[in-house]
C-alpha cells in the first residue's frame, strides 16, 4: 500500500496542505469515571448539556439505558452487563466509541515534535501502524493515555479519551512547534469497537495487530484498526458521522448468526478491568505517572527529551511510593468498588481505583494503588467494604486469562 493511500477518510476529501486547521467547537466537557455514573438505585439522566453521538437514536431505539459519561450521553447497557460481557468473550460485541477524540498532527516537524510530547517512540511506527502511549504533564503525571497512529510519513492520528480531548488539544496546541499543525477532527467522525473471537468471521482481510487500514464497506469509506480495550481480538472502526447508523445496523445484521450484541460502557468496563487495562480518570490521573501505574513498557527512556522524562527517570531509579496492583477477593462476597480503602494488618496501605464483580470469573476483582513495600504478587490484603474488612490477594496481570 502506498503511503498516500493511508487514511484518506480522516484526512477528508479535498483536504490539502492549504486548508486552515481549526479546533472544532465543543461543548464544555468534564471528566467522569464510570464509578460516578450510577449514583442511586435508578439512574438519573440529565440530558441538558450532554452531547449525543451519531448513534444516540439507535441506542434509544434498541432500548439501551443511557447515562452521562465524559460529557456524552452513552449506553451503559442494552440488556445486561453480564450478557454483553459474555458476548464479547465468546462471540462478538459492538460498542459505540464515537465519543472518543481524533486529533491529527501534521507538518514537517510533526514526528520529532510528537516524540517530545509522548512517552512511547513514534520513530518505531511504520506508516499504518499504531502504538499505545502517554501524554504527560511536567510532573510526569498522566494527562491522557492514547493510541498514536502513523498515517503517512509526517501525519499522525491520535485517538484520545472523550473526557480529555479538549484538554489534550489545548496542551498540545500550547506546546506546538513552528512547523507542526494540529487539528481536532472529533466532531466529524463516528466510531465503533467490534470485539470478540468471531470478529474474524465478520470481516475478511483484517489489518495486522495495531495496524490501521482504509477500506470500503457497502459504499462507505471506513478506517479500520486492529485494536481494542477488551483483551479479545477485534477492531476499532471510524467512519463519517453521516454513515454511522448505516454502518452500525449493517454490522449488527451481518453479525446476527455470530451472536453479535450491541454492548454498553458497563461491559466495556468489566472487560477492560479483567485485562487490567487502565481507565483514565479512575486508575490514571495527572497525579499518577506511568511507572507507578505499572505501565513503564510504554515509556521509551532512550528518547532523551520528552515532557515528564526527568520525573519518570527519578521514579524509576528511586522506586515509586505507591504502585497500581490487580487483586482478587479471597471469598465470595460484596464486589470491591473504587475508593474503598486497602489495609494490611490493620494499617491503611492504599485505595481501590477500579473494582467490580468479574463476569468471566464470577468473582470480585479490582485494581488499587498501594504503598510499594506491600505491592507484592501473592500478598494478602484487606478491602474495607462498609466498615468491614474482606481478605483479598494481589495478583499478576491479567486477572482473566483465556483458557
Amino acid at each position: 500500500m502506498r503511503a498516500s493511500e493511508i487514511f484518506p477518510l480522516l484526512l477528508g476529501p479535498g483536504e490539502d496542505e492549504g486548508e486552515e486547521w481549526k479546533s472544532s467547537q465543543r461543548f464544555e466537557s468534564f471528566s467522569r469515571g464510570l464509578r460516578h455514573m450510577l449514583p442511586s438505585l435508578v439512574w438519573r439522566v440529565t440530558e441538558a448539556a450532554q452531547k449525543k453521538t451519531p448513534l444516540y437514536d439507535e441506542h434509544v431505539r434498541r432500548g439501551a439505558k443511557m447515562v452521562p459519561f465524559a460529557g456524552w450521553l452513552m449506553p451503559v447497557q442494552y440488556t445486561s452487563i453480564v450478557e454483553e460481557h459474555q458476548a464479547v468473550r465468546k462471540n462478538v460485541g459492538m460498542f459505540d466509541i464515537s465519543h472518543m477524540g481524533q486529533l491529527i498532527v501534521d507538518g514537517s516537524d510533526s514526528r520529532s515534535w510528537l516524540n517530545t510530547m509522548l512517552t512511547n517512540n513514534i520513530d518505531k511506527l511504520k506508516v499504518g501502524q499504531g502504538q499505545y502511549t502517554f501524554l504527560l504533564n511536567e510532573r510526569g503525571g498522566i494527562i491522557d493515555d492514547l493510541i498514536a497512529y502513523r498515517i503517512s510519513d509526517k501525519k499522525f492520528l491520535l485517538v484520545v479519551n472523550a473526557s480529555r480531548t479538549d484538554e489534550d488539544f489545548e496542551w498540545l496546541d500550547g506546546h506546538r512547534a513552528n512547523n507542526v499543525r494540529l487539528g481536532d477532527r472529533s466532531a466529524h467522525f463516528g466510531g465503533v469497537a467490534i470485539q470478540g473471537p468471531r470478529v474474524t468471521e465478520l470481516f475478511v482481510n483484517l489489518p495486522a495487530r495495531n495496524h490501521i487500514v482504509d477500506l470500503e464497506l457497502d459504499g462507505m469509506p471506513i478506517s479500520m484498526a486492529r485494536t481494542g480495550y477488551t483483551g479479545e481480538d477485534g477492531v476499532e472502526v471510524f467512519f463519517r458521522k453521516s454513515d454511522a447508523v448505516k454502518f452500525w445496523n449493517l454490522v449488527l445484521e451481518k453479525g446476527k448468526d455470530l451472536g453479535i450484541k450491541p454492548c454498553g460502557l458497563g461491559a466495556r468496563d468489566t472487560l477492560r478491568l479483567e485485562m487490567c487495562y487502565p481507565l483514565n480518570g479512575s486508575d490514571l490521573s495527572p497525579e499518577r505517572n506511568p511507572i507507578e501505574a505499572g505501565l513503564g513498557f510504554f515509556v521509551d527512556f532512550t528518547k532523551l527529551n520528552f515532557i515528564g522524562r526527568d520525573v519518570l527517570l527519578k521514579t524509576k531509579e528511586n522506586g515509586s511510593r505507591e504502585k497500581l496492583v490487580p487483586f482478587k477477593m479471597n471469598d465470595k462476597g460484596p464486589p470491591p468498588r473504587p475508593h474503598y480503602s486497602v489495609f494490611e494488618n490493620g494499617e491503611r496501605i492504599g485505595e481501590v481505583t477500579s473494582g467490580t464483580l468479574s463476569p468471566s470469573l464470577n468473582w470480585g476483582v479490582g485494581m488499587a494503588y498501594i504503598t510499594a513495600p506491600h505491592a507484592k504478587i501473592g500478598a494478602r490484603i484487606d478491602i474495607e467494604i462498609r466498615g468491614q474488612k474482606f481478605p483479598a490477594t494481589i495478583e499478576k496481570k491479567p486477572l482473566y486469562k483465556k483458557s
Partner: protein, 125 residues
C-alpha cells in the same frame, strides 16, 4: 413493567406488602430491571430498629451498590437468607422469592405516607 395493585411503594423503588402488623419489603420489577445482574445482597441485621428512609440493606449489581431503605419505622424480624446464595432471585422474582426483609411496624398510620400502585406507575412513567 409489572406493578402489582395490591402493594404499596416508595419513591426509592421498594415495594411493601402488608401482613398484619408487619410489612414484607423488596425492590420493584422496575428497579431490578434498571440494575440488572444483582450479584450481592447485604441483608439487615435481625432485630435492628430503623426509621423510615433509613438505609438498612444493600443490593449490588455488577456496576453499582445501591442502598435499600426501610419504608416505615419498625424492627427487622425476618431476612431473606436465600438471597445470600442466590442474589439473582431479585431479578427473577422481584415480588416473590426475591423479597429482602420483613419489618414489624411501629405505627400502621405510617403506611399512609407510601404510594399506591397508580402513583408509583406515574413516577416510573
Amino acid at each position: 413493567m409489572n406493578v402489582p395493585d395490591d402493594l404499596l411503594y416508595t419513591e426509592s423503588h421498594e415495594w411493601i406488602k402488608r401482613e398484619g402488623g408487619k410489612v414484607r419489603v423488596g425492590i420493584t420489577d422496575h428497579a431490578q430491571s434498571e440494575l440488572t445482574d444483582v450479584v450481592y445482597v447485604e441483608l439487615p441485621k435481625m432485630d435492628r430498629q430503623a426509621n423510615a428512609k433509613e438505609a438498612i440493606a444493600v443490593v449490588e449489581s455488577v456496576k453499582a451498590a445501591s442502598d435499600i431503605y426501610a419504608p416505615v419505622k419498625g424492627t427487622v424480624v425476618e431476612v431473606n437468607k436465600a438471597l445470600e446464595a442466590d442474589p439473582g432471585l431479585i431479578n427473577r422474582e422481584p415480588f416473590g422469592q426475591g423479597w429482602i426483609f420483613v419489618l414489624k411496624i411501629d405505627n400502621a398510620d405510617d403506611l399512609k405516607n407510601l404510594k399506591d400502585a397508580a402513583a408509583y406507575k406515574q413516577q416510573i412513567g
